[in-house]
């Protein structure tokens, strides 16, 4: 009977370990489900917009496009930079890969990182769920570009024999986005882009034929100046890249 109790205790311990890891896996699946739900909402919004405006070019003056490759080539510049994670007693996150996941139909950034504990060999690979955040004040002329880290999802498989990894993963999952870092790209996107279309006045020689002769003289052209203001009307993150639609306003200041 004692033997049976020992076997049951071992089963209980294994079940406990599995339950704890199952809890973490459930948390990862919940995060995944939440991400998919957000994506679904965005797709429905886009579908609804396309019903009302099948061709946004018809209502716009300028269509700008930046492919996913160009944007991700720029983000690749952040590779191998390190972030000290707040309130985690020496956990450091090193970016391995950062790219906008255009298939999400949103400025959703997919990031791979490695989290290490300073002064130890403990490290875990992690998927970092981030959001490219474009912040514009109402009536403002520019928007600020930031990448906010929302969730860090450890990729390690752990077991009863790797409890320290479990501890590390638990620490990462316990962080919420208020405590996490922000990548401030120090880049301002012009929402209103002002320019002046201008032609300098000039004097140039001109000659022309009349029926029985040729007249030579000087032609004086007037200087022309027209302020132009491009305003961002709409932007879309689509699978091929970022599409911006702008309006042209030619009112005098």
């Amino acid at each position: 009977m004692k033997k049976f109790a020992i076997i049951l205790t071992i089963i209980a311990l294994v079940a406990l370990t599995w339950a704890l890891s199952g809890d973490t896996e459930n948390e990862i699946e919940r995060l995944e489900w939440r991400q998919l739900k957000k994506q679904e909402d965005r797709l429905y919004k886009l579908a609804d917009f396309l019903v009302r405006h099948p061709d946004p070019r018809k209502a716009s003056d300028l269509h700008l496009f930046f492919s996913r490759d160009v944007i991700n080539d720029i983000l690749a510049g952040t590779k191998e930079t390190k972030v000290a994670l707040p309130k985690t007693e020496g956990l450091v996150l090193t970016w391995k890969h950062l790219e906008v996941d255009f298939d999400q139909y949103a400025p959703s950034v997919v990031a791979e990182a490695q989290v290490t504990k300073e002064g130890s060999s403990l490290q875990v690979d992690a998927a970092v769920r981030t959001q490219l955040h474009i912040h514009a004040n109402p009536g403002g002329e520019t928007a600020e570009l930031k990448i906010e880290i929302h969730e860090i999802v450890p990729r390690a498989r752990w077991s009863i024999f790797k409890l320290e990894l479990k501890w590390l993963a638990g620490k990462l999952l316990a962080l919420n986005h208020h405590e996490l870092a922000t990548i401030d790209l120090n880049y301002e996107i012009p929402l209103d882009w002002q320019t002046t279309l201008s032609v300098d006045g000039e004097k140039k020689p001109l000659s022309f034929e009349v029926e029985r002769g040729r007249i030579h003289g000087d032609l004086t052209l007037p200087a022309l100046s027209q302020p132009a203001r491009w305003s961002l009307r709409q932007w879309f993150f689509l699978p091929d890249g970022l599409h911006l639609f702008l309006d042209l306003n030619l009112e005098e200041p």
Binding site: A12, A15, E32, L46, S67, I74, R212, G213, Q226, A228
Partner: protein, 273 residues
């Protein structure tokens, strides 16, 4: 069964019952959601195709309407802002020569005229950009005539309206530049009629059609490749990081479309170590 065995059995059972269904249900939901999303994306894909810039890295499309908007704004400017002036410096004259009439010869001594631009009309065709430039021409010339009765000098006012057409069309460039020519096609003549009284000889009426030179007025060269160096500064947590980059932008030939002008380019970004 002693108490130890019973406790072990109960705790094992509770753990198994609690954990098993959670994982399974959530997993199935995720799979379902993924399938629904895939179907939705497939449905949207053809609707987004006409926005596509193909395999280009960057694209700029300027609508025909916005070009016309600029031209309309230009036409609304005060007249002095859209008036060109011409003043004659010399003339290969005479503009009229005759042996049979009382008027033997007429020379232009002075000529001043102004050309007021009206509302230009822009049309983009697949082979180029057509610009119709309506204008009003008004001027005054001083004529010196040689007649059988003397050499009267008269001032003549004249004016006309016309609307010649200019084309911006792609031409053969070199390896580094695209070329565009501003041209006129076919014969374009501005009819000018001036008349002046010459006393006893009666009224002198001069038809002075101005023929616009055919062919290329201006050549425009635009570089195919642009190089730009810059710095990306960003802040992660408390750390300020700065990286240098070089961007090379290689433009494709501009596409003239009735709806607008389409520019596309390939871009290479290189990061400095």
């Amino acid at each position: 069964m002693n108490i130890l065995t019973a406790r072990a059995m109960i705790s094992t059972g509770i753990l198994l019952l609690t954990c098993l269904p959670l994982s399974g249900e959530l997993g199935a939901d995720v799979v379902l959601k993924r399938e629904r999303l895939a179907a939705l994306k497939q449905e949207l894909s053809p609707k987004l195709k006409h926005w596509s810039f193909g395999t280009s890295d960057i694209g700029i499309w300027i609508s025909s309407r916005s070009i016309q908007k600029v031209l309309d704004r230009l036409a609304a400017k005060p007249e002095e802002n859209r008036t060109a002036h011409f003043q004659m410096t010399s003339c290969d004259c005479p503009i009229l020569e005759s042996r049979d009439l009382g008027i033997r010869r007429v020379d232009v001594k002075r000529l001043k005229m102004s050309l007021v631009l009206g509302r230009p009309e822009s049309t983009i065709q697949t082979d180029g950009w057509r610009l119709k430039l309506p204008f009003q021409l008004k001027g005054k010339m001083h004529l010196k005539a040689k007649t059988i009765l003397g050499k009267p000098s008269v001032g003549v006012d004249f004016g006309t309206n016309s609307a010649p057409t200019a084309f911006l069309e792609p031409a053969e460039g070199d390896g580094d530049h695209f070329a565009f020519h501003v041209t006129t096609r076919g014969d374009q003549t501005i009819p000018v009629t001036a008349s002046a009284g010459l006393g006893q000889l009666g009224q002198l009426t001069l038809d002075l059609p101005v023929t616009l030179p055919r062919g290329t007025y201006q050549k425009v060269h635009i570089p195919k490749v642009l190089h730009e160096q810059g710095r990306l500064a960003f802040k992660i947590g408390d750390a300020n990081i700065e990286k240098k980059y070089t961007v090379q932008t290689r433009f494709d030939p501009v596409a003239f479309q009735p709806s607008g002008l389409l520019f596309t380019a390939d871009v290479k970004v290189a990061w400095a170590d």
